[in-house]
C-alpha cells in the first residue's frame, strides 16, 4: 500500500492498484502527520498517472497514430528512462503507462517494468503485439497489466488502423494470457467499427482478456486530417453510447471489466448518471494537467499524450476546467467531465471550447443557431 498526502486528506493505492481517496479523518490511521497535509496544501499535487513514451520506433502503419513514429525511430535510452522513473516516484505518481511507438521494440522493456516496480510505481504497457514472442512475454511478468490494441473483429481492426492486424492482436492476447499476464484490450471507437463492439467484446473475453478499454478516436498526429470528420462517431452513435455501455457491462461482467477513456465521459452527459456517483467511483474526464501527465520520446512534459507542448500546455487545461463557459458551466457532470476532450475542440474549432461532439454542447449550439436565425430572419 502507498499513501500520498493531499490537501483534502490522502490518496491510497492498494496492492491491486485500486486508488482510494480519503479525507483527513483517516490520516492518523494511515500514519500521515498533519504537517504532511499542510505541506501538500502548500504545493501543487503530482499526477496520479503518467504516460511515458519510451521509443519512436514502430512498424505498424496505423492511419490514426497520434505520435510521430517510424520503422527506424529511436529508442529513449535506458538511463534516461530510469531517471524519469526516479522523478515520477519521488513526486508520488502511482501508475506509469509505457507507450511508444511500439514499446516491444525497446530492448529494455522488461527491465523498465521491473525498475518501475522497484520504485513503488505500478507499471503497465500498451502494445500492438508486433514482435511479441513466447520468450519475450515470459520476461514481461513485472507489468501489472498489458493492453493489446485490437479495434474489432470482422474488419473492425482494419477499419480503424488501415491494415489487417487482427491476427497479430489475437496472437499477442493468446501469448500474454498463457504467460499469466493480465491482458486488456484497447478498442478505438470509430463510425466504422461501432456496430462490432459487442461482438468484439465477447470474442476477446473468450480469449481470456480481463478488461476492455474503449477509447475515443482523436484528431492528433496522423489522424489530424479532414478524414477525422468522417471517422468520428456520428451523433446518433454517441446518443446510444450509454446504453451500449450498459449492455457491455451486463454481458461481459464479471469475467471482463469495461473501462472508458477520459474523452468518452462527455458522452455520458445525457445518461443522467449523478455527478456524485461518477466522482465517488473515480470516473475521470479530461484530467490533462491534473491527475494525468505525459512525457514524450524527446523527454518533454505534456498535459496528455495528445497535447502539443506549446499550443496546449497544462495551464490551458486547468484554466478551462476552473471556469468553463456554457453549456459546461451549468452541466451536472462538469466537475467530472471537465469540458470534454480539448484535442477535439482544438482541431474542430481551433480553440479550447466545450467539446463540440458532446450531445449537450451540440444541443446548446443548435439552440443558439436557431435563436440567431430567428433574430436575423
Amino acid at each position: 500500500m502507498r499513501v500520498r498526502a493531499e490537501s483534502f486528506g490522502a490518496w491510497v493505492k492498494l496492492d491491486d492498484a485500486t486508488l482510494v481517496a480519503v479525507d483527513r479523518s483517516w490520516l492518523a490511521r494511515l500514519g500521515i502527520d498533519e504537517s504532511d497535509v499542510a505541506s501538500a496544501a502548500a504545493r501543487t499535487s503530482a499526477p496520479l498517472e503518467s504516460h511515458v513514451s519510451i521509443t519512436s520506433q514502430c512498424a505498424a502503419p496505423c492511419e490514426g497514430c497520434y505520435q510521430p513514429v517510424s520503422r527506424d525511430g529511436a529508442h529513449v535510452p535506458l538511463t534516461t528512462i530510469l531517471a524519469t522513473l526516479d522523478r515520477l516516484a519521488a513526486d508520488g505518481v502511482f501508475t506509469v503507462a509505457l507507450g511508444g511507438g511500439e514499446p516491444l521494440a525497446h530492448p529494455d522493456l522488461a527491465q523498465i517494468g521491473l525498475e518501475a516496480r522497484a520504485r513503488g510505481l505500478t507499471p503497465v504497457v500498451t502494445t500492438s503485439g508486433i514482435g511479441l514472442t513466447v520468450e519475450r512475454a515470459a520476461s514481461l511478468t513485472g507489468f501489472q497489466q498489458i493492453n493489446v490494441s485490437h479495434d474489432g473483429i470482422d474488419g473492425g481492426y482494419a477499419d480503424v488502423r488501415g491494415f489487417h492486424g487482427e491476427s497479430i492482436a489475437t496472437r499477442a492476447i493468446e501469448i500474454l494470457t498463457r504467460a499469466g499476464i493480465p491482458v486488456g484490450v484497447n478498442l478505438v471507437l470509430t463510425r466504422g467499427n461501432f456496430a462490432r463492439v459487442e461482438a468484439t467484446a465477447s470474442d476477446i473475453r473468450a480469449r481470456g482478456v480481463r478488461e476492455l478499454q474503449l477509447l475515443r478516436y482523436k484528431p492528433a498526429g496522423r489522424a489530424a486530417t479532414l478524414s477525422y470528420l468522417d471517422r468520428r462517431l456520428t451523433p446518433e452513435q454517441i446518443a446510444t453510447f450509454p446504453s451500449l455501455l450498459g449492455r457491455l457491462v451486463q454481458a461481459q461482467q464479471p469475467e471482463m471489466t469495461v473501462r472508458i477513456d477520459c474523452a468518452l465521459v462527455p458522452f455520458l452527459a445525457s445518461a443522467e448518471f449523478p455527478s456524485e456517483l461518477l466522482a465517488q467511483w473515480g470516473v475521470f474526464g479530461c484530467e490533462a494537467g491534473r491527475h494525468l501527465h505525459a512525457i514524450d520520446a524527446r523527454g518533454d512534459d505534456r498535459a496528455c499524450s495528445f497535447a502539443d507542448r506549446d499550443a496546449l500546455p497544462p495551464s490551458a487545461f486547468r484554466a478551462f476546467a476552473a471556469d468553463p463557459p456554457e453549456p459546461c458551466a451549468s452541466c451536472a457532470i462538469r466537475d467530472v467531465c471537465r469540458g470534454g476532450c480539448k484535442i477535439v475542440s482544438q482541431f474542430v474549432g481551433g480553440a479550447i471550447t466545450p467539446d463540440p461532439e458532446c450531445p449537450r454542447v451540440r444541443a446548446h449550439d443548435a439552440r443558439r443557431a436557431s435563436n440567431a436565425a430567428e433574430r436575423t430572419g
Binding site: R2, A5, F8, L14, A17, T18, V20, A21, V22, D23, S25, W26, G31, D36, S39, S45, A46, P47, Y66, D91, G92, V93, F94, T95, A97, G120, T122, V124, V125, T126, Q144, G184, E211, Q213, L215, P242, S243, G246, V249, Q250, Q253, P254, T257, V258, R259, D261, F273, P274, A279, Q280, W281, G282, V283, E287, L292, H293, A303, S305, F306, P314
Partner: protein, 101 residues
C-alpha cells in the same frame, strides 16, 4: 517536479450513510493499461446502491486492516509505503439494475 497539476478533489462527495466507510471520498478501480488517455472502470455505475455500499465497506475494511505508515519507512516527503497484502476482493457484485441509464 513532474509537471505540476492542481490538486483538489475537495468536491468529491463523502460515502453518505455507511458509517464504516465515512471519509472515503472516491474509489477508482484498477490501474488500466492505456498509454494514451486515462481510463475509468464503469461497471460500478450500473450497480445497485446496495452493491455499491458493499464495495465501500470492503474498501474500508481493507484500509482499516492495513499496516499503518508508522510500520514502514517513508519513501518520499509525502508518500508512505506499508508492507502486507491489501487488495479488494476479485469479485465485483452482479449487475442488478441500480442506476443504469
Amino acid at each position: 517536479m513532474t509537471d505540476a497539476t492542481d490538486d483538489s478533489i475537495d468536491e468529491v462527495p463523502t460515502s453518505g450513510e455507511l458509517p464504516e466507510a465515512a471519509g472515503i471520498l472516491s474509489v477508482r478501480h484498477g490501474p488500466g493499461a492505456n498509454c494514451s488517455s486515462i481510463g475509468s472502470a464503469v461497471e460500478i455505475l450500473f450497480l445497485s446502491a446496495t452493491a455499491g455500499a458493499a464495495i465501500l465497506a470492503a474498501v474500508a475494511a481493507v484500509l482499516r486492516a492495513s499496516p499503518t505508515a508508522s510500520d514502514a519507512a517513508p519513501d518520499s516527503a509525502t508518500t508512505r509505503s506499508a508492507a502486507g497484502t491489501n487488495r479488494l476482493p476479485e469479485e465485483i457484485p452482479s449487475v442488478d439494475g441500480g442506476t443504469a441509464p
